[in-house]
Every structure is written in structure tokens, then in C-alpha cells.
Subunit: 518 residues, 2 copies
């Protein structure tokens, strides 16, 4: 960056380049997305953060339903016995979970309350960390014959995994998610569903959230406990770390055998079902922050912005305010009658008391895609002062890049403007991602050297490997761990291997992404 | 009923008139709404039941948002200390709740799992039975001055109240609901919000769910723990019992004082906020069953039906099926392009394997508003065979009242048909309700006699009373309890009192509804 560029005074007091972790927390606070709840490991999702999640839910749910998946609701409590059935699942999950042991409180005689010793449960209940086992029980009841297959279910719910080190949206003890669970007659059908869900996640991430992702298969050590195959979409954050943004699992007949999910085939023979499960969570909001946030706060892609246009009248607590508000109401109605990105444009007229400039900066930090200020003079001139959140600054003069547009023109243009912001956020993120994947490192030493010398945010490397299993794989994973590195996935569309494994020296069989990760 | 009417063979093997409780369970099972989960007190909500809940959510959520209320999400776990703060709230709630005491499981050495004694929580956590106390904590942080008021929040979530005797949808240990929580500068504003929410519930119940309700104030003994006023909407089920279908509470400054929710007024003086809370739950689905169900299963009001029209092609596993399916696809598209009750018509083309007649009866039991059968001959004649679920039988001949309509006519008529079904379900329920409220009983003995002699399903009575409080009220409540009766509410629009209290003999001050209740 050249030194004679004018200095911009950004809205946050911590910059991405200086302290990414601190910047992340600053955006969450400045954009009013969430806050610590005071309850260990749990956060409060505030209206703007929850509004973004609601938009993600709505768009994802449409995709889920259009694939013929039906929504359901299963109990939050799971009996211990369910976890004891599937050996690998116990290993992977039966650890940090919230356990309910009592069903009543009584006074302790000193003004406090304690669990009533008389009301101890015979069998403790686990607060669901995921629902394969309890949904498996239902599938065993619901599936009789091939006519009942495929059975495709989904639920939107909260889940709890007790976490020692938490970070808002990325790792909290309680989080919100959707979990899809399907049962099929054959391995082929179940694998097709695994890939359908994966592709749905890719499309939702890229088209709705403007998050470029790489879809691929996780190596054995990163598989879901009890799965035969785990696939993921991986997104690159602005600090070059990877974020696993969604997973889709082919569970083989493992859970079907544990829960006895069987069907009669066309010949009347009982067969085990092949099952899948797939999930995404409020973690996606963390991915949006670390992909589209900047030193002025968040920038929300229009498709998932609760409000796409915020109108801010410059009120002065004077009688003239009435006309200005009426003018803005009309503007709001005209904008709202337009269709942008396939839906009616979502417009907020912000009449909350407060200074106009303070409110403008609030919306910049929250990342409303278009912020539209209207003062008395604008009203006279039939214009609006428009701020496009993704092009906030005029680099020439270091000032806000406010544009004055005729009101009618703005109404005509708003669909195109929203499309542009959506596309530009995606393109920007994709270019950054592509520029930060390094290929062609031929040895482990080169990888170590790369991560040691390539600055603060080195990005990802794609390396060739021989796909060792068992203890050989464990050794490789330890090797990665020593550099704080992890395997991400084997991209679906990566080139075939043509060299040697950087870990074992044996002929490589595929290419795999290696990165630091959240 | 005259004896020479033809006998109808209904789809359920238990009738409302014979055993209402058993019939209720039979509908839930026959309409595939929900089932026992195997986890104590918790149910599984199956796709058709959950689809109805999703429709209720969507319509209610639109109403909530249009009132300027913002959705949020608060932790499922509430520290014990929160319950200890508000005395009346402890009394009312700190009883049957699920208590989390451990955060890890370990192997017991015999193939099982047990809570890890090393992972005992210092302070047990309660699974939320309602969120006043934890949302109150947040309000105390978020509200600084009058500019921050009103603060209007809502959340859609699961809650847990440990129940000893459960009944699906009506009383389960875990249920789904929305809870609104608002803070205001004055008593007047908070009361206005209490009534806005109540009116919203009335409108949603009557217009969307076709449930006629009576809105009114609960007497002191039925108040929410910690509330100054509790208002409800009450619906009459077909067995004459009352179902409380939604409540709205004015909490005064009680919770504000417990959580220290204060604001600076225009003069800079710190004042306590006045707060409200209001909720509705999956219980509404139980109300729909007991209002719109009949001896053939459920009948879902079109506004909340996941599918409003179900097309059933009469497939024969022959090559001609292809044409029939194409014809039905086209019909589906034409119907779906119509607008009914303000939304695109929701159409399912059911291609699941199975006999056409079996599938027809499945949809009758589930209560799809319009069931439309198309066979090869219908296709040739350009017609459909239509079953209107709310007018299922031809009373003349005891057969299904199937109508043959030209395809084009059906497409034109579908919006009107859906409106008719919606209106007719409401009218039918309202007439039944109004015919079963008895007024003019002047003494307690008359009330006892009325409920003893007026058949199996006596309905409600509206009586005059002097509104005693404290122990005098306790005695009245005991008197009611001896007859298995309860107070419902004091209807907002009831006539003024003009007689004596049937309990105390003193001059009455208002009229109150008395009924058996769920």
C-alpha cells in the first residue's frame, strides 16, 4: 500500500491485520450480533445476529423441502442406553455432554434451591449432542418395506456439546443447527443422498451466504463417529484459516444395525437400511463474519440480510420531520414493491431516536447492504444519499463514498444494486481464497517451511498423499499437529495424483488440503 | 338423529361420542401427527404434525414481526440463582424441572456409561421452563434510557416442565413454543402491549387456526407466577372442556426489580421498567385436533395445512401411468399458480407406492382440506374427482360425497373452495361453542346440578361473582375443584354484573367462565 494514500478512519478500533481474534470479537459486539450470556459456554443471539440466522434457515429450509425431505421434531433428551449401542459413536460422543440427573428442585432451607434427592432419575438423560440414535429408533419403527424408502427427515433444533474453550458462533456449548437423517434401500441411494446434501450445502454457502467453499471428503481421522464416509464444505477465513461449514455423512449400515432399522425388499427378505446424516449450524454466522467483515464491522450479503436497505431520515425534532417521514414511508413502500434476488426487497425505515450520524455508523457496523440517508434538502431535490456497504470508502480522498441518486433512479436500480453487492462479496472472497491456496509443495519440510515463513496468514496448501490408514495415519496426524495443522478435505474436483506422498514417500493416490483451522 | 339415515362407516374405530380421550389418541395416530418417543414424557412430532406447527409458526411469526417485535435466542440453561430471585416465580416454577448436574459421561467398566463424578457442575443448571429470568438479565444490560424502550423480544424454542401425567401436544415434558418478552417505560405502555399480544393470539387462533376463542382475564389464582395480570384465550373442545390456548401477562415491575431492569427517563431519573410476557405452544395442535377432528380423523384448516390440495393419481403400475402422471403434474402446476387465502396454493402430488384407495383414506385421516383423485377416465374426460374433507359424507346415501368437476373449473374454483373450508370450519366451531355456554345460573347448587345432569359434555357456564381474593378465593377454588371445575377467564366483552355472587352471595362485580379444562 502506497504511503500517500489518504488515511481512512475506520469504525472499529481493532484491525483484522493486527489481531484477528480480537477483531472477530469486536465485530460481534459492534454489529450487535451476540453476547456472552453469563451461562457457561452459552451465548445470547441478539436480533441482528438471529435475523441473519433466520434468513439462512429460510433459504436452507426451502432447499431441504424441495429435495423431498420432511421436517420433524425429536426429544431433546436421549437415554444413556442409546449411546451405549453404537461403539464408535460412544467413543466419539459420550464425553462432554450435559447430563440431567434430577427432575425437581427444593428449597435448601437457606433461601436457595437444590436438586431434590428424592427426585433422582433412575436413568440419567443426555441433552442431545446430535440425534442419530434417537432418530434411528424412530426409523426402526417407521420403516417396514421398500415402499417406505427413502425416508428423509430433518430437524431444526438446539444441541449441546460441553466445550471447555468457547468462541461465539464457532464453538459454544449450546448451538442451533439443522440435522438431516435419511434411510435408504441401498448403498448407492444413500451415497447419492450424501452427495445431494453436500451439493445443497455448497450451493447455499456460495449462492446465499456468498461463502466460496471447497467440497470434498474428510480423511479417516476426521470422520464423524460411526460414519463410513464424511464429506465437508470448507471455507477460508480472512486469516487464512479453514472453517468447516457443513458436513454430510454416509453411515453405511452401522447405525441401522445398532437400532435395527430394517426393511423387506421386493423379494420379502429383511435387509438393513443404509443411512446418512448431514448438518449445518449457527457456526455459519461465524464464517460470514470472518469472510465478509472488514475494519468497519460486518458486511451482510443481501440474500441473508434481515434488512437489505435501511432508510435513515435526518430528523431534527422539528415539525418539518413529519413531511420527511412521510417522504421516507413512500420511498420504503416503493422499494419494498421491487423484487431483488427473487424476493420482495426488505426495507427498514429506522425511526429510533438518536443522532442521524450515530445511526448511520450503527448500520455500517451491522453491515446493512445499502444505507440510504434522506435529509430535508434531499427530499427537496428528490434524491437520496446512498452508501453501499461493500464500497464504503473513496480511496482518493479517504472519505465515505456516498453517492447522490435520484429517488426514481434508486427505486429502479435497487434490484441490480443488491445483485451487485451479493456477487461482488462472493467474487472478492473467491479471489482471496484462490490466491491463498498453494500447490506444488513436494515434501513435508517444504510444508513446514511454508507455514513458518509465509507471514501471519499463510492460507492453505494442497499436497499429495498416499492415504495411509490406522496407526500410519495417526503418525501423520501427529506430525500435522506439531505444526498446528489439520487435514481439511480431498476436494471433489482436484487433479489426480502424479507424485509421491509428502508424508510417507510412497506413490500418492490423491490430493488433500492442509490448513490451520477453527 | 333419525334411524332411517344410512349408516356411515367411519375411518376411525373409536368415536368422539363414545370415548373422547381414546378418540383423541386415535386421531393423533391415524393422522400420523406424533407418537411416544420412548423418552419419558417426550413425544416425537412426525412430519404432518410438525408441518402444521410450522404453518402456525410462520403465520404467527409474521404477526409478531409486524408488531415490531424482534426474534432472538437465549440459552436453554438457566442458573439456579435466577430462580431464587423472584419470590412468587420460585414458588410457581421451581418445582418439576429438569436439572443438569454433570457435564461428562464415563464408562462404568461394564459396557455402560455413567455421569463422571469428576465432572459435577459447581452450580446445577435448569433446563428452561420459561425465560423471564434470563431474558430479564439481558434487558438489564440492554436498556439504558427511555430511547431504548420499548424493547420487544421474542424467541421460538423448546422448554421443559417435568410432567407426571402427560398427553400428547397438551401436556408433555418438553414442548415447543414462542415466548414474547417486552420492557416498557410505563404501566400504560406495558398494559397496551399485554393486550396487543392477546389480540394477536385471538386473531391468529380465529383467522388462521379457525379456533373460536374467548379472550379475558384470568382470576388471581390462575395468574402466572410473578405476574400482576394474566390474560388468556380459551377455546372449547368438542367434549365441552376448555383449552387455554395462549396467555399474555402484565408483570408490573416485579421482574424488573428482581433483575434490575431500569431506564433513565427524560429527566435523567432512574425508573424500573414495566415488563410483559406472552406465549403460545404446540398445545395449539391439540386444540386443532379436538376442535376440527371428527370420526374420520383430522380436518386441517386450509391456512395451516402443509398441503391444501392432495392429488392422487390412480396408478396401475402400467405404461399408461406415465401420461396420467404428466396430466397430474400439469394440474399441480396450474393449482399452485393460483392464490388462495393470500398465498400460493400448496399442492402435493402423491406418487408414493400403494393402493389408490388406501392412500385416499390416509389423506382423509390426515385431514388434507381437498383431496383430488384422477384416474385414466377422469383424464380422458378432463375432470377430477374431488373430496372436500369438511363435507366428507353424503348423508342421503351414506357414501363419500365425491364430486366430479371439470379440470379448468376446479383450477378456477380452488381459491374459493379453500376460503369456504376455512370459513366453514370456523363457523361450525363457533356455533357449537356458543350453543354450549350456559348463562343465568344463579346459585352454586344450580351449577353443581347443571354439570351433574347435563350429559357427558355439558360445556361451560358463565356466572356472576364478587371476585374474592386471598383465602376467600382459595375456598371458592376448592369448591370448584370438588366438582372438577376451574375458572377460565372473565371475558373482555361480557355484560356487566347485575346480580349476586354464586359463591359468596355478595353483590357480583363481574361474570366469569367456569368449566372443566385440559
Amino acid at each position: 500500500m502506497s504511503d500517500n494514500r489518504p488515511k481512512i478512519r475506520h469504525a472499529l478500533d481493532v484491525k483484522r491485520a493486527d489481531d484477528f481474534a480480537k477483531w472477530y470479537q469486536a465485530v460481534i459486539s459492534a454489529a450487535d450480533l451476540a453476547e456472552e450470556s453469563g451461562v457457561r459456554g452459552c451465548m445470547v443471539i441478539k436480533p441482528w445476529g438471529y435475523g441473519i440466522w433466520e434468513r439462512i434457515q429460510r433459504l436452507m429450509d426451502d432447499r431441504i423441502k424441495s429435495a423431498g425431505v420432511q421436517n420433524t421434531y425429536f426429544p431433546i433428551f436421549i437415554p444413556l442406553a442409546n449411546f451405549e449401542r453404537e461403539a464408535a459413536h460412544v467413543e466419539g460422543f459420550a464425553k462432554e455432554m450435559a447430563v440431567v440427573t434430577h427432575h425437581r428442585l427444593i428449597a435448601d432451607g437457606e433461601g436457595g434451591l437444590i436438586p431434590d434427592p428424592e427426585a433422582k432419575l433412575e436413568e440419567p438423560l443426555v441433552v442431545r449432542p446430535t440425534s442419530e440414535t434417537i432418530i434411528g429408533d424412530a426409523m426402526a419403527r417407521w420403516v417396514q418395506s421398500w415402499r417406505d424408502l427413502p425416508l428423509k427427515l430433518n430437524q431444526w433444533s438446539n444441541v449441546v456439546r460441553w466445550e471447555m474453550r468457547t468462541r461465539m458462533f464457532l464453538r459454544t456449548s449450546e448451538f442451533l443447527w439443522q440435522e438431516g437423517h435419511t434411510a435408504h434401500a441401498s448403498r448407492e441411494d444413500a451415497l447419492a443422498e450424501t452427495h445431494r446434501a453436500l451439493e445443497m450445502y455448497r450451493a447455499c454457502a456460495e449462492e446465499d451466504l456468498a461463502l466460496p467453499v471447497i467440497a470434498g471428503e474428510k480423511p479417516e481421522n476426521e470422520r464423524f463417529p460411526g460414519a463410513d464416509e464424511t464429506w465437508s464444505i470448507e471455507a477460508m477465513m480472512q486469516d487464512g484459516k479453514a472453517l468447516q461449514a457443513g458436513t454430510s455423512h454416509y453411515l453405511g449400515t452401522n447405525f441401522a444395525k445398532a437400532a435395527n432399522i430394517r426393511y423387506q425388499d421386493h423379494e420379502g427378505t429383511a435387509q438393513f437400511c443404509h443411512t446418512t446424516s448431514w448438518g449445518t449450524s449457527t457456526r455459519l454466522v461465524g464464517g460470514i463474519i470472518m469472510t465478509h467483515g472488514d475494519d468497519d464491522g460486518l458486511c451482510v450479503p443481501p440474500r441473508i440480510a434481515p434488512h437489505q436497505v435501511v432508510i435513515l431520515p435526518m430528523l431534527r425534532d422539528k415539525p418539518e420531520d413529519k413531511d420527511l417521514i412521510a417522504y421516507c414511508e413512500e420511498l420504503k413502500a416503493s422499494l419494498g414493491a421491487q423484487t431483488g434476488l427473487g424476493e420482495p426487497v426488505r426495507v427498514l425505515l429506522d425511526l429510533k431516536p438518536g443522532k442521524a450520524s450515530a445511526k448511520r455508523w450503527d448500520w455500517v457496523r451491522k453491515g446493512a447492504p445499502l444505507i440510504c440517508e434522506v435529509g430535508p434538502r434531499d427530499m427537496e431535490n428528490g434524491q437520496v444519499a446512498l452508501i453501499r456497504r461493500d464500497e464504503l470508502w473513496n480511496a482518493e480522498n479517504g472519505k465515505l463514498a456516498t453517492r447522490f441518486i435520484q429517488r426514481a433512479q434508486f427505486i429502479d436500480d435497487v434490484p441490480k444494486l443488491l445483485e451487485d453487492v451479493q456477487a461482488s462479496l462472493f467474487e472478492r472472497a473467491r479471489e482471496r481464497r484462490d490466491a491463498n491456496i498453494t500447490r506444488g509443495l513436494g515434501t513435508w519440510d517444504e510444508v513446514v517451511e511454508f507455514f513458518a515463513s509465509n507471514g501471519k496468514y499463510p492460507g492453505w496448501v494442497e499436497v499429495q498423499w498416499s492415504k495411509p490408514t490406522g496407526t500410519a495415519l495417526d503418525e501423520v496426524v501427529e506430525q500435522l499437529k506439531s505444526q498446528k495443522l489439520t487435514f481439511r478435505n480431498v476436494p471433489k474436483d482436484s487433479d489426480p495424483a502424479d507424485g509421491n506422498c509428502i508424508f510417507t514417500g510412497e506413490p500418492a493416490v490423491e490430493r488433500i488440503l492442509v490448513a490451520r483451522a477453527y
